[in-house]
């Protein structure tokens, strides 16, 4: 596997996250976040790359990835809609909102439309109960979304995943960098 040619940007990210956090093990999740926001999900190649570029076992990478809901290992649409199913959102109509979306998109929760445009997911309490029923579209909050106003979730402009990645890169987990440069 070690002769694999990973995309140059993955290599760069791996180096960057490794330089960012004082302890090497902490570089895994920031790296995965970047790849995730670039591609929307984590391909097997991405998991291999994480293991190899960060010096971890694939077992460790897979085990960690499988623990966190935002790290998806299935193809994921360009627009990921999270509908909060928390208690307050449920009380505000989240169930109907979800049903309406499922009907309209012709997919069930957890699925992606056949054109790969939209992935519909439920979320546990998004910590936005003041916006109930709250949603996120590519992690951008939207709410309250009245159950019959679901179309706004499909229409609101989203940045494409690659753009998200670029943004994360600019503002990304570089906490230490500025300091390190001066030291």
């Amino acid at each position: 596997m070690s002769n694999q040619q990973w995309p140059a940007e993955w290599r760069a990210w791996a180096e960057e996250v490794q330089a960012t956090f004082p302890n090497a093990t902490s570089s895994l999740m920031p790296f995965l976040h970047r790849v995730r926001s670039q591609q929307g999900w984590l391909t097997p190649e991405a998991l291999d790359a994480a293991a190899e570029l960060l010096g971890m076992t694939r077992q460790h990478v897979d085990s960690v990835v499988s623990f966190y809901t935002l790290f998806r290992t299935e193809p994921t649409g360009a627009r990921t809609i999270h509908v909060c199913r928390g208690l307050s959102c449920m009380m505000a109509g989240a169930d109907t909102l979800m049903e309406n979306l499922e009907h309209h998109l012709g997919i069930a929760e957890g699925q992606t439309t056949s054109d790969g445009a939209v992935t519909l997911l439920e979320a546990e309490c998004l910590a936005a109960c003041d916006l109930a029923p709250a949603c996120q579209v590519n992690l951008v909050y939207r709410g309250p979304v009245a159950p019959d106003a679901f179309r706004e979730l499909l229409e609101m402009p989203v940045e494409e995943p690659p753009a998200l990645a670029r943004r994360a890169e600019q503002s990304g987990a570089q906490g230490a960098k500025g300091v390190a440069d001066r030291e």
């Binding site: 902490s26 208690l87 230490a176 500025g178």
Partner: protein
């Protein structure tokens, strides 16, 4: 009697000062003055004393006295770490999200003051993965602070050097539990760790570590500027000060409210616009879904830590969920139990299997397929989880359920005898907005 509401916000300052997330604006309104003062006084131990004197308690859920927590760090010369818990995921709680999005510099200032007090050269903020906006705001604010010489090899000209890191979670409520958070921050699965050793002794990367909530630490700048007595003008002897309460559910103006800790639930609900006209409060969960609910008859309970415990619940993280009389309590419980099933880390048996079983039983009850003996079984299964799980998530999973059966047993029974919801199906679908 309840204290008067302060004339301004001390934590939710973005409500009073637009754009306070920008360094320039924050500074123009007294930002980083407290830090400057603390550094000039150069007496870290005094800051710990100040925190103790103020009676400030942790806002992450457990309410542990903050100054005391800091003084548990062993004095063995090892480099210490401050970790800020911004993983906010407790259903009903949404204050930390607003705080880091709206007022990130106050968090940074509070963190540097805290780190100066406990002599920590590094600090970390563990931000919930879903808080993309908050993460970006905070990262940008740190960048500004670095550029302005507030963070780095020197802090505002003081030789105290400090590095601050922001780390994103990736969707796991359990990572709010402090030891699971540390595991996650070390790049692992968020399974809680055994205590002892406590984080104060061996936390992040084995170093002595303090874990504090976002809101807790944001209290520091005003405290340093105004002193412990000022802080104690609100609240009670044991629960002094202001608390950001997240009010949601069937109130007219859901949102965060920064209120004195001696207010009652009724006053809080009133502040949030009260319940919908024509409806009565049925039950309130005062501190996030991990806490037992209270019936309407207990609404004059003050929200301080002690009074709520006495009333059979807890302040927790201050996520106050208000349910009016249209609420099917069985459905609410079913929803909450499912949350804990979905968020159980899976490490320990009672939590992993127990929440699965409870969810199945609750679903059956809600469908109208329950039997009378299910109620005692629910309580018995809850008892087999409660106090037996590895971490407090197990207890949290049954708090609402057990209290709901206690206060609303009749409604559970009606679901069984009537084989359906007495309030009619899906009554929540009428959005209140």
């Amino acid at each position: 009697m309840s204290s008067a509401r302060p004339d301004r916000h001390y934590l939710l300052r973005q409500r009073d000062v637009p754009d306070i997330h920008q360094l320039e604006v924050y500074r123009a309104h007294g930002g980083y003055e407290a830090l400057k003062q603390a550094l000039e006084a150069n007496q870290p131990d005094q800051l710990v004393e100040l925190a103790k004197a103020s009676g400030l308690r942790g806002r992450g859920g457990a309410g542990f006295p903050t100054g005391m927590k800091w003084s548990f760090l062993p004095k063995d010369g090892r480099a210490r770490v401050l970790v800020i818990n911004a993983d906010e995921g407790e259903p009903g709680t949404f204050k930390d999200r607003e705080l880091i999005e709206g007022n990130p510099h106050q968090l940074i200032e509070g963190m540097i003051i805290t780190c100066f007090a406990i002599r920590a050269p590094e600090s970390y903020v563990y931000v919930r993965g879903e808080f993309l906006h908050g993460y970006e705001r905070l990262t940008a604010a740190i960048r500004e602070a670095e550029a302005a010489g507030i963070l780095g090899a020197e802090v505002m000209g003081h030789p105290f050097a400090h590095r601050m890191f922001v780390y994103r979670g990736a969707g796991a409520y359990i990572c709010g539990e402090e030891t699971a958070l540390l595991e996650s921050l070390e790049g692992k699965r968020g399974n809680p760790r055994s205590k002892p050793p406590f984080p104060a002794v061996a936390g992040l990367y084995g170093r002595p570590t303090v874990v504090n909530n976002v809101e807790t630490i944001m209290n520091l700048p005003p405290l340093v500027l105004k002193g412990a007595d000022w802080y104690r003008q609100w609240g009670t002897e044991k629960s002094p000060g202001l608390k950001v309460m997240s009010v949601s559910g069937h109130v007219n103006r859901p949102g965060n409210y920064e209120v004195p800790l001696d207010w009652t639930l009724a006053e809080l609900i009133e502040a949030a616009g009260g319940v919908r006209t024509g409806h009565q409060v049925k039950a309130v969960i005062p501190g996030g879904s991990s806490m037992p609910c209270m019936p309407a008859s207990q609404l004059d309970t003050p929200i301080d830590y002690e009074s709520l415990v006495e009333a059979g619940s807890m302040l927790g993280s201050g996520g106050c969920i208000v349910m009016d009389d249209s609420t099917c309590i069985v459905r609410a419980v079913a929803r909450v139990v499912r949350f804990y099933r979905n968020e159980s880390c899976g490490k320990c048996t009672p939590c992993r299997e127990g929440t699965y079983w409870l969810t199945d039983i609750m679903d059956r009850l809600e469908r109208g397929d329950g039997e009378m003996r299910d109620l005692d079984m629910l309580l018995d299964v809850s008892d087999n989880i409660n106090g037996k799980a590895f971490c407090p998530l197990g207890d949290a999973a049954v708090g609402f359920l057990v209290s709901a059966i206690k206060h609303f047993r009749g409604e559970f029974q009606e679901h069984i005898t009537g084989q359906r919801c007495p309030l009619g199906a899906r009554q929540y679908d009428t959005a209140i907005h």
